[in-house]
């Protein structure tokens, strides 16, 4: 059995240990009745109260706390999901570009200044690397017993080690992607003891330098999932269009996980939104099942104004014909392509009336509720916002489903931002940039691209993959692009850093992307025989009382077909609701308000919405201009 090593925190080449491969985010149910309720008996939530011990640094952590006989009487409690900082153990901190240890600790990323600069101990012995030890017990629900059982962590920031019943299970980084581990070998009858050790920092800190409050902990849901003996492990749905733009071109790849070579049938059916059947087939259970280029004449297209979805249903039966798993997935028929240097959806020029959206709730930070998401969709619809960039990390899985249903064009971005390694006090200075072209960092970032693709690949709403934000450009980001190009010819790839290092412009982005370029500069680009269409991945910086001059951008839409709109920065202020220490009234606080230094203070608030989801006065202007090009 593998022994966990603290040194993994320092090594950019170790970012997943014993993690299961990423796969599509499909849900699965035991029966039609479960499907109807939306409650899968195959899942068992581990959200709620966990035992918790906070340690200021690795050397003070409770070593061996995961052992069943460890004395845990001194443990406190914490809620899952919740940030360790919101719970009051760690200090709240906001910072934009520079690293959160600025002015306190000197760090350079491993290998960035030479092969021998390995950064040993940088995080594993980091005085600012606080640790949360999480523990709880569970007993498997009857539906999960005698099945293969995996555990899913939807989001843990920033590095985690996992034990079950005292045995080491695995390790994960990438705070914003789901981490999944097979618990089956370690499970026992009755009560099981699960332990997670969460470190605030690891080498991931260098590539998770997003402009945001810096949190840690288990901040998204955790669940157990039991898998039936024949289980759809992964699916790839392609709902494309033939050249005539009216015929649906459907393909499906299923990967089954079969225990003991289980046999049976797989029924695949497609119905339209009224429940009318379009297609049915039954195939024998197999490791791989494919349907290739099944054509459907005159399909109802998916687009923002009419996000029509078809229902795919995969039903797995055992040898006796008993249903053992039902996998539903709604998908749309739509076609994304580049033609004559213009990006098209269903043959028509795409105009992006977009916003960048951080996940935010004033009370709980990046722990957001389904209600928050639904409200955001409602705000989008009311204000003609048709596109969202998931800045700068994958969001909660539910958000992608909501965007499919609401017809919100998604730029699905990887969890990547390293601007602190190349942008210093506003200047481009990439002397120790990561990932750059460093081979030691390549797999970590390509893995993030893979996770983003594998989990979300079936979402109709995703028109663009985005490699990340403000991470400069080098071979490693080119490798991320190559991953997408290899796996998905139904979408385009975006990367903002294309404008930062022109040597890579043909290898990292299908479109020209800039942020905050004044309209006049954009016009210069557009009138100078441009190679690619232009997208403002961030524009109209809505900090405080702002958003003036939008008409100048709107004019570009009408004048230049290759100008395809953009994403306003950003959707919602990041500020934390707390009690005023003087009056006791409920107030919203920003960077620097928690004695957190070095800070970028009120720069955390650039939203169209205030942090409590009330709209800023500028929103009516967005509604007006975005309403001019509804598409």
């Amino acid at each position: 059995m593998m022994k966990p090593e603290l040194s993994w925190l320092d090594d950019p080449q170790t970012f997943r240990v014993n993690q299961l491969p990423a796969h599509s985010d499909h849900r699965f149910y035991q029966s039609e009745a479960d499907l109807a309720t939306g409650q899968s008996r195959f899942t068992q939530s581990l959200d709620g109260t966990w035992q918790f011990k906070f340690a200021k640094q690795p050397s003070e952590r409770p070593i061996g706390f995961y052992a069943p006989d460890y004395d845990r009487s001194g443990f406190d409690t914490i809620t899952v999901p919740e940030h360790i900082e919101i719970a009051g153990y760690g200090r709240l901190k906001y910072i934009n570009t520079t690293y959160p240890w600025e002015g306190k600790i000197y760090r350079r990323p491993a290998y960035a200044l030479g092969k021998d600069q390995k950064g040993e101990g940088m995080f594993s012995d980091g005085e600012d690397n606080y640790v949360g030890a999480y523990l709880r017990t569970f007993t498997l629900n009857s539906e999960l017993q005698n099945k293969r059982v995996v555990i899913q962590f939807d989001g843990v920031e920033q590095a985690m080690y996992l034990w079950l019943n005292g045995q080491f299970v695995g390790y994960a980084e990438d705070s914003f992607s789901q981490s999944e581990f097979d618990l089956t070998p370690y499970l026992k009858d009755g009560e099981n003891l699960i332990a997670v050790e969460v470190f605030k920092r690891s080498t991931a800190a260098f590539i998770e330098d997003q402009d945001m409050f810096r949190f840690s902990g288990i901040f998204r849901s955790v669940r157990l999932v039991g898998e039936p003996k024949s289980h759809v492990q992964d699916m790839r749905i392609i709902g494309n269009l033939a050249d005539n733009m009216t015929t649906g071109d459907f393909s499906l790849k299923l990967k089954l996980n079969r225990q003991a070579n289980a046999k049976g049938n797989v029924k695949i059916g497609i119905t339209d939104a009224d429940g009318e059947s379009l297609f049915n087939t039954t195939q024998a259970v197999n490791d791989d099942i494919e349907i290739n280029h099944q054509m459907f004449p005159n399909v109802h297209l998916w687009q923002h104004t009419d996000p029509y979805l078809y229902q795919l249903k995969v039903t797995v039966q055992d040898e006796q014909g008993k249903v053992i798993e039902i996998v539903p997935y709604k998908f749309g028929f739509r076609r994304v392509e580049m033609k004559n240097k213009i990006m098209l959806l269903n043959g028509k020029r795409i105009i992006l009336n977009g916003v960048n959206r951080h996940e935010w709730d004033a009370k709980s930070g990046r722990v957001i509720s389904l209600d928050d998401m639904k409200q955001d969709i409602k705000t989008f619809k009311e204000n003609h916002i048709n596109a969202v960039r998931t800045c700068h990390y994958p969001d909660r899985i539910e958000w992608y489903y909501l965007c499919d249903q609401a017809g919100i064009y998604m730029m699905a971005e990887n969890n990547l931002e390293s601007h602190g390694t190349w942008q210093k006090m506003g200047a481009v200075e990439p002397s120790y940039n990561v990932p750059g072209s460093l081979p030691e960092w390549r797999e970590a970032v390509v893995d993030r691209a893979r996770s983003n693709y594998e989990v979300f690949k079936n979402h109709t709403a995703i028109l663009f993959w985005s490699l990340g934000n403000e991470s400069y450009a080098g071979d490693d980001i080119a490798a991320m692009n190559a991953f997408y190009k290899e796996h998905d010819d139904t979408r385009l790839v975006h990367y903002e850093g294309v404008c930062r290092n022109r040597a890579y412009e043909d290898q990292i982005s299908d479109m020209e992307s800039m942020m905050y370029d004044p309209p006049k500069e954009i016009e210069k680009y557009l009138t100078n025989d441009p190679k690619k269409p232009f997208v403002d991945c961030e524009f109209m910086h809505d900090m405080g009382n702002s958003l003036g001059g939008m008409s100048s951008y709107n004019d570009l839409i009408d004048k230049y077909p290759m100008y395809q709109g953009g994403f306003i920065w950003d959707f919602i202020d990041q500020a934390i609701e707390t009690k005023d220490e003087v009056t006791g009234q409920t107030v919203l606080r920003y960077g620097g308000d928690f004695d957190d230094r070095h800070s970028d203070y009120e720069f955390s608030g650039d939203g169209l919405m205030f942090a409590d989801r009330t709209p800023k006065p500028a929103l009516q202007e967005v509604k007006y201009y975005y309403g001019k090009h509804i598409n």
Binding site: Y516, G544, N545, G548, G549, T583, V587, P617, Q620
Partner: protein, 320 residues
């Protein structure tokens, strides 16, 4: 101005003030305070201090980012401190000798006119200095036409704002206006929908750092409603109001509980003092808010306010 009233306004040639009164109104203009000191309609006082030209707006994040407030900082000083350097009076458009003692001894207790104009000249504390005149013309129905003129001067930095600020003694309970929905600025008003709107209370937009807010462009008229005075004998709490109307061109205004300087000093909204007054400002020039970025990009040029050119505006305060 055209006098449409058949009534006459009574003139009180005081030793320190010029009083103008009629049925249901009484106005006092102070030579010492350099402006209109009292505006009473139906027994209710509308002024806390004399209205003054205003030049500053609370720094927006965009202003801070592009250094605008640093470049234009001298306007903050003159927004706080302003000298009244001259007062002139005209009766039925005829200038008269300034009617202070002993020149006012020639008058009686029954002096009337169709309309009276009193003009205050203010000198800025900028380098170089320039002047602003504010002329009030009052007729027999108590209607006040206010005309404000800024005289451009080469070498002065751009203006953050230009308007006339009224401080009212108590907070308004609401204001109604005919104009654009929401808050609008010259470079952010396309989304404003023309209509009649009511704003309850005196909301300060809760930007993380308090800043310029609450502007309403293209307004035809606005009515400020209060229900309290500072008069110790006045225990009524029924609504009373004052209406400002366009004179030719629509105007811009904001109605807030704080001055630009009060907003400027706060790093959080909860630091602002309890609302005690109404700060009602009519603007003759409004700087855009910008939006390209918040760390250097300026407001687009056509939405700047040059201090080197003249700016004039006028409006009417409705009579009784």
């Amino acid at each position: 101005m055209a006098n449409t009233s058949t009534k006459q306004v009574q003139i009180i040639y005081g030793d320190a003030t010029l009083g103008l009164r009629g049925e249901g109104f009484g106005y006092i203009f102070s030579y010492e305070r350099g402006g209109m000191e009292s505006l009473v309609q139906h027994g209710k006082e509308w002024l806390y201090r004399t209205p003054k030209p205003t030049f500053w707006r609370a720094t927006t994040d965009n202003d801070r980012g592009n250094g605008f407030s640093v470049k234009s900082a001298m306007w903050l000083g003159t927004d706080l401190f302003l000298k009244c350097t001259a007062v002139a009076v005209a009766v039925n458009d005829q200038p008269i000798e300034l009617p202070i003692s002993p020149a006012n001894n020639q008058y009686s207790d029954h002096e009337f006119a169709d309309h009276v104009t009193i003009t205050f000249t203010y000198e800025t504390l900028t380098v170089p200095a320039t002047t602003v005149t504010v002329a009030y013309t009052v007729n027999g129905s108590g209607e006040i036409n206010v005309s404000v003129d800024y005289h451009g001067k080469a070498g002065l930095p751009q203006l953050p704002a230009f308007g006339l600020r009224f401080m009212m003694p108590t907070p308004a309970v609401r204001f109604n206006y005919d104009g654009l929905s929401g808050e609008t600025y010259p470079d952010r008003m396309a989304g404003g929908v023309d209509g009649s709107y009511t704003v309850d209370g005196l909301p300060v937009t809760k930007y993380l750092v308090p800043q310029e807010c609450g502007m309403h462009m293209q307004t035809k008229q606005v009515t400020v409603v209060r229900n309290r005075t500072l008069d110790n004998t006045d225990h009524a709490n029924h609504d009373f109001n004052l209406t400002f109307k366009q004179d030719g061109q629509p105007f811009a205004f904001s109605c807030l509980p704080y001055t630009a300087e009060e907003l400027e000093n706060a790093t959080h909204i909860e630091e602002l003092p309890a609302p005690r007054r109404t700060v009602f400002t009519i603007f003759g020039a409004v700087r855009g808010v910008g939006g390209i970025d918040s760390w250097g990009a300026d407001v687009e040029e056509q939405y700047h306010i040059s201090a080197e050119t003249d700016h004039s505006f006028s409006f009417t305060i409705q009579g009784v």
